[in-house]
C-alpha cells in the first residue's frame, strides 16, 4: 500500500519522521509492506497524492487541500485519511468525504496525557491554585485550605479518549463520577452515566465539572448561560474540549460574581486569545494555551500504533475503531 505522510511546513515539534515510522514498523512487523513517502512542501504533496492510498496528515492540511476541492480528481486512489488529531470538528460538515474513503481520527493518542492534565486541573481547583496565581501577582500571602478529592462529586461530559481518561484518574482518587455522553452505557469509572438530555438534572450536584466532549452541532453551546446557572455555588469547572462548548462569557460572569469556585480552561474563543481580552483577567480562572493533551515525546509513536491497529482491523475485515461517522461528527 502506498502511504503518503504530509507534514506541515516548518513544523518542528510534531512532524512524523522516517525514523518514527521505521520504529513503529519494528513494533508492528505486519506493517512492513507499506511503502511510505514523506513531504512537508507543496511539491512533495503534488508528487505523491495521485498514487497515495493512505494519507497521514494534519486536520489543517485536509481542510486546505482536500475538503475544499474535489478529493477524487486529486487523489483517485485514496481510501483512508488518518488525521493526527482527536477533534476533527474543523472538517465538518463531512459532505466533501466520498463514501469509499475512511477518515480516521487519532483518538487514544491523547489519553494518558489528558488523564494527567485533567487530574492536575481537578487538584488545582480543589487547592484554589487559580486564586493563588493571581494573589502571587499582587504579592499577597493569603492562605486558604483545600480539600482532598475523595468523596467529591464530579461530572465528566464526554467519555471518549479524553474524558474517559479523566474519569478513570478521578475515580482512582476516590471521586464520585457521573458521566454524560450520547448513550447511557455504563463506564467502569463512573457511578452512573446519563445522556446529554439528562444534563440539567445532574448539574445541580456538580462540585466539579469537566468538559471533554468533541465539538459537534449537538455540543456547541452545551454549557450555556442557563446551565451555568444550574451549577451549585462554588462549583469548579475544567474545559479541555473546545471553546464553543461553553458560553465563555457566562462562565466569566459567574466567576466574577463569585458564583463559581474556580475554573481552568485549555481552550478559548478565539484562539490564540488576543492580548487585552477580557478572559485573561477573570478572577479564579486559569488559562493554558491549548496544550493539555499533546506530549511531543510520545505523540507520534502512539499515533502510528493507533493507525496500524486500524489498518490491521481493516485487513481482518473488522471495523476501524477510529473511523469518523460523518453523521455523528466524531
Amino acid at each position: 500500500m502506498r502511504v503518503h505522510i504530509q507534514n506541515p511546513e516548518n513544523e518542528t515539534l510534531f512532524p512524523v519522521t522516517p525514523a518514527q515510522w521505521a520504529a513503529a514498523v519494528k513494533r508492528n512487523p505486519d506493517m512492513a509492506g507499506l511503502r511510505p513517502s514523506f513531504a512537508a512542501d507543496e511539491a512533495g504533496f503534488q508528487a505523491a497524492i495521485g498514487e497515495a492510498e493512505l494519507l497521514v496528515t494534519w486536520v489543517r492540511i485536509v481542510h486546505q487541500r482536500l475538503a475544499h476541492e474535489g478529493l477524487k480528481p486529486l487523489a483517485p486512489k485514496l481510501r483512508t485519511i488518518f488525521c493526527t488529531s482527536a477533534g476533527l470538528d474543523r472538517l465538518a460538515p463531512f459532505d466533501w468525504l466520498p463514501e469509499d474513503v475512511a477518515l480516521l481520527n487519532n483518538r487514544g493518542a491523547h489519553s494518558v496525557k489528558a488523564g494527567e492534565f485533567g487530574l492536575m486541573a481537578l487538584l488545582m481547583l480543589a487547592n484554589h491554585l487559580p486564586a493563588f496565581a493571581q494573589a502571587q501577582q499582587r504579592g499577597e500571602w493569603a492562605p486558604r485550605f483545600g480539600s482532598v478529592l475523595a468523596g467529591r462529586r464530579l461530572i465528566v461530559v464526554g467519555l471518549g479518549s479524553l474524558g474517559g481518561a479523566v474519569a478513570t484518574r478521578a475515580a482512582q482518587f476516590g471521586m464520585r463520577v457521573t458521566g454524560v455522553r450520547n448513550t447511557d452505557r455504563p463506564h467502569e469509572a463512573c457511578e452512573r452515566v446519563v445522556t446529554q438530555d439528562a444534563l440539567d438534572s445532574v448539574l445541580p450536584d456538580a462540585e466539579f465539572l469537566v468538559l471533554a466532549c468533541p465539538l459537534t452541532p449537538a455540543t456547541r453551546g452545551l454549557l450555556d448561560r442557563r446551565r451555568v446557572g444550574l451549577l451549585p455555588q462554588g462549583a469548579k469547572l475544567v474545559n479541555i474540549a473546545r471553546g464553543p462548548v461553553w458560553d465563555q462569557d457566562a462562565v466569566a460572569d459567574a466567576l466574577e460574581a463569585g458564583r463559581l469556585g474556580g475554573a481552568l480552561t485549555d481552550v478559548a474563543v478565539p484562539e490564540p486569545l488576543p492580548p487585552g481580552h477580557r478572559l485573561w483577567s477573570v478572577p479564579g480562572l486559569f488559562i493554558t494555551p491549548h496544550m493539555s493533551v499533546d506530549d511531543p515525546e510520545t505523540y507520534n509513536d502512539d499515533s502510528l500504533d493507533i493507525l496500524f491497529a486500524n489498518l490491521r482491523a481493516a485487513r481482518e475485515g473488522k471495523p476501524m475503531a477510529n473511523r469518523i461517522d460523518p453523521q455523528a461528527g466524531y
Copy 2:
C-alpha cells in the same frame, strides 16, 4: 485520664470541637473513659492545665506557654502533649521537655493531602503551569507542550508521612523515584533509597526534586547554592518542607538564569512573605501560601484517630509511633 484540648483564640477553621471528639470516641470506643475539657482562652487554660494528664494543642501554644517557662510547676500531672502539626521544628531544641513527658506530633494526618498536593505540583511543572500563570498576566498565548510523568526521574528528600505519600503517588504514575532519608532502608515506592550523605551523587540525575523532610539542624540549608548547581539543566523543584531547607535566593537566581525548568513552593522565608518581596516575581516560580498539607474537613478527625492509636499503643506497653525523639528533632 484528664485530657485538655486548648484551641487557639479566634480559630475558625481548625479548632478541635466537642462534636469531633465525640465522633472520634465513637470510632474508637476504647477511648470512652477519657475526660476531656475544651478551651480557647487564657482562663480556660489556667483552669485545666494543673490537672491535665494529656494536652491536645497547637505548636504555637506549646511554644508560648510551656516551652519557655517551667513545664512542671504549671502542669505537674502532664505526661503527654499531642501537637496537631507534623513539623515541630519551632519547639527545638527540646531541652525544655521533661523526660517523663511524651511529645507527639501529628505525622500521618497530612499524608493523603500531601500526596495529592505533591502529585499536583509535579504535574504542574511537567506542564509548565508556573510559566503559563505568568504568561496569563501578560495576556500572552504561547503554547508549550508538556510531558507525561511516566519514566521521569524524581528525587524525594524525606520519606516520612509527606514525602512517602508523594513518592507513592509519583510511582503510581510511572515515575522512577529515588528516595533520600537518614537510612538507606528500602521504600516500596522507590527504585532506590540513599542517605543524605549521598545526595550530591544523585542530584545530577534529578529531572524533578521534591523537598519533604522535617526542618532539623541536619536539613537546614540542605539544598544550598552549591547543590542547586549540581542539578541538571531544566530540573523542576517542589518544596513542601520548610523554607530554610533550601537556599531560597540560590533557587531564585537559578530560575532567573534559566537553569531550572520551574519550581513550586508552599513555604518561604519569611512567612508570611511580605508584599514586594523578590520571590513573588521570580520567573517560573509558583508560590502557594503554606496550605499544601491541611484539609480542614478531614484534619481533626484524622488527628484524633492518630492520637488514639498512640494512646492505645501506650496502654499495651508498646512505643507511641508519633513520639518525638528530642535528639533527632522529629
